[in-house]
């Protein structure tokens, strides 16, 4: 690990200003992703700004009937929150399907959204990777691709976003509230938050340098039967091969978002019109334009079947 100075931020605005003042500065929240990558020297911050002291862990009702989730709310607390369990159960389910009890006790809402890919070549510092070293090349293309993306890929990168929680957030139309180094605040719709890799896979989100996430907001509950089906190599404590988050209403209409298939949670609103006609019709629209390899083409079948399983559950 490279050496770094350590400080505790006192206010969100101060943290953002401090982070922008130096290119090597980074926020640390739970640390469960950043420290993992720092040990491998994939991340090499020279200055760590600990957000732990900021009182950003509250989960509060909003005036329009939604929920405002503090950036530092722990994954365990968010999954266990009574309002989330009742009104946004797909979010509880997605969180509980991720990582382990120990990790969820540390992992935060913002850190979870910003966790980096699990592409094995990204983790292997002996292999070229455009995400780690822009322009170095992509070792996954032409390599082992079983876990890689099948949608929205580019010639530069075919990595997936590994978060389960982010898939539920996308399904629920969350907003990401931030403060920028100049003190300005904004809300980024979750649909625009994560980026596709295109030519610049090292730029993963819409955040500007130093921009701090303060909260994630949920609009008022939409009801329906909500579920998160995660398919993985082990029954627990493993990343998704494919995951399917669904909201299904009694008339068969609803929403669907996929995890494990792209560089961001995958949702195509127009494809949802096909939901009353079943899983095949829906996935045809949702997966159109997919580019697979012999090793990961199974993800398309898996997505259709996982959606079929969700649709077969009793509704209401």
């Amino acid at each position: 690990m490279r050496a770094f100075t350590y400080e505790r931020a006192r206010t969100p605005a101060e943290a953002a200003a401090a982070a922008a003042s130096e290119p090597g500065a980074r926020f640390i929240a739970g640390g469960t992703n950043l420290l993992d990558l720092m040990k491998l020297e994939i991340e090499t911050p020279r200055r760590l700004i600990d957000l732990g002291g900021l009182k950003l862990d509250e989960i509060k009702a909003t005036r329009d009937g939604g929920l405002r989730i503090g950036a530092l709310a722990r994954n365990t607390d968010l999954a266990a929150d009574k309002r989330v369990r009742k009104d946004y159960p797909v979010l509880s389910r997605a969180l509980l399907a991720g990582a382990s009890g120990q990790l969820r006790n540390k992992a935060t809402t913002a850190g979870n959204l910003l966790q980096r890919t699990r592409c094995p070549y990204f983790y292997d510092t002996n292999m070229p990777c455009n995400k780690r070293s822009p322009g170095a090349g992509c070792s996954a293309i032409g390599g082992f691709t079983r876990s890689h993306a099948v949608l929205g890929t580019s010639e530069a990168c075919i990595a997936t976003h590994p978060s389960d929680m982010a898939v539920a957030m996308r399904l629920l139309d969350a907003g990401v509230e931030t403060v920028r180094p100049d003190g300005a605040t904004r809300t980024i719709p979750i649909a625009e938050f994560h980026r596709l890799p295109a030519e610049t896979p090292h730029i993963e989100t819409a955040l500007a340098p130093g921009e701090l996430i303060t909260a994630v907001t949920l609009p008022k509950p939409v009801g329906g039967k909500q579920a998160y089906h995660k398919v993985r190599d082990r029954a627990s404590y493993a990343f998704a091969l494919v995951s399917v988050a669904t909201i299904i209403h009694e008339d068969g209409s609803g929403r669907v978002a996929l995890g494990g298939v792209a560089h961001k949670p995958w949702r195509v609103e127009e494809a949802e019109a096909a939901m009353p006609r079943g899983a095949k019709a829906t996935t045809e629209a949702l997966l159109s334009g997919a580019r697979t390899t012999a090793q990961n083409a199974f993800k398309l079948t898996l997505a259709e079947r996982a959606l079929g399983a969700a649709m077969a559950q009793p509704r209401g």
Binding site: M1, R2, A3, F4, T5, Y6, I28, G30, G31, T32, L35, D36, K39, E41, T44, L48, D50, G52, T76, A79, A80, R85, K86, P89, S92, R93, L96, A97, A99, S100, G101, Q102, L103, N105, K106, T125, N126, M127, P128, R132, S133, A136, A235, S236, Y237
Partner: protein
């Protein structure tokens, strides 16, 4: 004591050299800076097993290394050092976490319980006694992590925290075998003592409810 910290330093030195030469071979831009950094020191006070401990540490020191290398509490084990095995599980402010994925300096003033604080050879914690009775281990390497994890996990069930296998999110979670297995999945046992571990935990928890299937 001196010997041990010397060993720690040279291990770190070796690792850094290894990374640098690998980078020269294939990814020149990955680590351009010198392989050795001068340590940056910080002071932190932890309350470990009811004792206040003030440490002067390299900011890079994980909570796990602070406990093992600096406080000589070697009951907590290092398995993977990457959050993947649970051998380093300790209880911080009442919650189980992986000590390998957090920095000591992030825990100023925190209350930390390690396996040494749960029980002693003379006065075993009920979970320790149950692991012995049920043969909840073979080599024992994962055991301190299993026991710290189990202690805090039972508190999570009591507090009503749901899990991946909880059938009804509006219900209090039940003490089923499926629940125990899912909730303990962050603790890997290479010896595969899982079924005896479940029995030991179940006994301390007061017995299992006959399960809904997972």
């Amino acid at each position: 004591m001196v010997e041990q910290s010397d060993a720690g330093l040279s291990r770190r030195g070796l690792m850094a050299v290894g990374v640098a030469s690998a980078a020269v071979a294939s990814a020149p831009s990955a680590t351009a800076a010198p392989a050795q950094d001068a340590p940056i020191l910080a002071t932190v006070t932890l309350e470990v097993n009811d004792r206040k401990q003030t440490l002067h540490l390299d900011t890079r020191t994980t909570l796990l290394d602070a406990l093992r290398e600096h406080l000589k509490l070697t009951g907590t084990k290092k398995g993977c050092d990457h959050g993947q095995c649970g051998a380093c599980t300790v209880i911080v402010e009442g919650r189980r976490i992986n000590a390998c994925l957090t920095l000591a300096v992030m825990h100023e003033g925190d209350t930390i319980t390690t396996i040494e604080g749960l029980g002693t050879p003379e006065r075993l914690h009920p979970l320790q006694a149950a692991f012995v009775r049920h043969d909840g281990y073979q080599c024992g390497y994962c055991t301190p992590g299993q026991i710290c994890s189990a202690k805090a996990m039972l508190d999570e069930i009591k507090a009503g925290v749901p899990s991946h296998v909880t059938a009804d999110l509006s219900d209090k979670p039940k003490l089923t075998e499926a629940e125990l297995r899912e909730r303990m999945s962050g603790n890997i046992c290479r010896c595969g003592a899982y079924s005896n571990i479940v029995e030991a935990i179940a006994e301390v928890a007061g017995g299992l409810v006959k399960g809904e299937p997972a």
